[in-house]
Symmetry: C2
Subunit: 248 residues, 2 copies
């Protein structure tokens, strides 16, 4: 399984993903799920993936080929809007699924991949969208500024509680790391290294891109600080009316 | 869907459950999922359920009937150990599923129910076990002191992070409420009223049993306090090395 989450803020975009890939419990490996494309100075894209690894790699490879060998079907260079880029990627994904779906289905394996596309085309607002395996997409909005794919339930409550209180991109990145860490603690199929990428609006390139191993000092410090804050909050919750309130 | 969680602590047991029941999105109702049995002064049981409501009610009804009309198949009165009570309830559950399973399966509806049984028989330690739809069970231990049934993923991270820091039964009840509240915020099929029951070891009766509606002042206070603590913790997380640390 996988867990990826993207965040659309006033100041830009934040992306985070785990790196664990498994085909059964006996074949657990590490693959990056966060892919950056800057095909021209006026545009910037990040693609994150959850699902069949072969389908995902097929999508990535064809995106690169279409940039190097332009054709009628377009590319990330020809997209005039973020939604056209999403449509284009959705079509490639469908194409690969059509090619390999029947063979995989007969083996009982899903060919599907779900993608998060974020980015900006100059002169327009940054965009963040979830591309379904069926090729269609929907966009994050001010009301629902985050999108998740993969093992999304464990890390959702903390997003729901805190996303409205965010002060900026870096704090957004910390919140996504907490959400990833929560998922990784509670589910063995999601694990470090955790990747985080921060994109500041109108920069047309990634500002910061971190890859944090399980023993990364910053990640350990973040985990400890979060756990201590959570336990302190637990100890400070209002007591029931039959308990003697502590003096002071 | 449903979310129920039980907690085994040194001092006793804590139980919490939501009350939302739905058959599709058009038929959402409220049913208690936390059932208390004190058939004799030397024993005490709590049963929580997630799954087919008819199967669950069938199990509850037959438990009561077996107490009033003793027979060879035993009852909660004849169980000499907690595990015998679990075995007995697992058998009743299987019996009902056998009776109604084929008809329900032909309608595409699951007849299954998953149960959490907690309690104590005098002279023994309190016990907490999860009874599978197949009738077998497993027990909570010191290492894994909580058991969940139903929509369990949203509320798990906070348990994993904080369960080791609990100071007592009341704080355990607050933690379970936070776990319920997290689930309810992130998933529309889990909702208040929330029930909480606290059992102090060797008391052979429930010490406190609360039913908190969505607008209950204590619940609102708990939610606010938890959210504030979470957001304060988020704001206090260690900054990335490229950020200018705040002075002081």
């Amino acid at each position: 399984m996988t867990y990826c989450v993207g965040l659309l803020l006033k100041d830009g975009l934040v992306f985070a993903s785990d790196s664990r890939t498994n085909a059964g419990v006996d074949y657990v490996t590490s693959f990056s799920k966060l892919h950056i494309f800057t095909p021209a100075p006026d545009r910037f894209f990040v693609l994150m993936s959850s699902g069949n690894l072969a389908t995902t790699q097929g999508v990535l490879n064809r995106i690169v080929r279409d940039l190097e060998y332009p054709s009628d079907r377009g590319s990330l260079l020809t997209a005039r809007y973020m939604f056209e880029a999403a449509d284009y990627i959705g079509k490639i994904s469908q194409e690969i699924q059509r090619e390999h779906g029947p063979a995989l289905m007969s083996s009982g394996v899903s060919v599907e991949t779900t993608l998060i596309l974020g980015g900006q085309i100059q002169g327009q607002n940054p965009g963040l969208m979830l591309i379904y395996p069926q090729g269609n997409y929907f966009e994050a909005t001010r009301e629902t500024p985050y999108l998740q794919i993969g093992e999304n339930k464990y890390g959702k409550p903390v997003l729901d509680r805190a996303v409205g209180a965010l002060t900026g991109l870096e704090e957004g990145a910390r919140l996504l790391l907490v959400s990833l860490d929560a998922t990784s603690r509670s589910n063995a199929t999601v694990g470090p290294p955790f990747e985080v990428a921060i994109y500041r609006r109108d920069d047309m390139k990634i500002n910061h891109h971190l890859k944090l191993a399980a023993n990364d000092p910053y990640l350990l410090q973040l985990q400890q600080c979060w756990n201590e804050g959570l336990c302190a909050t637990l100890h400070s919750l209002p007591v029931f009316d039959w308990e003697t309130p502590a003096l002071g």
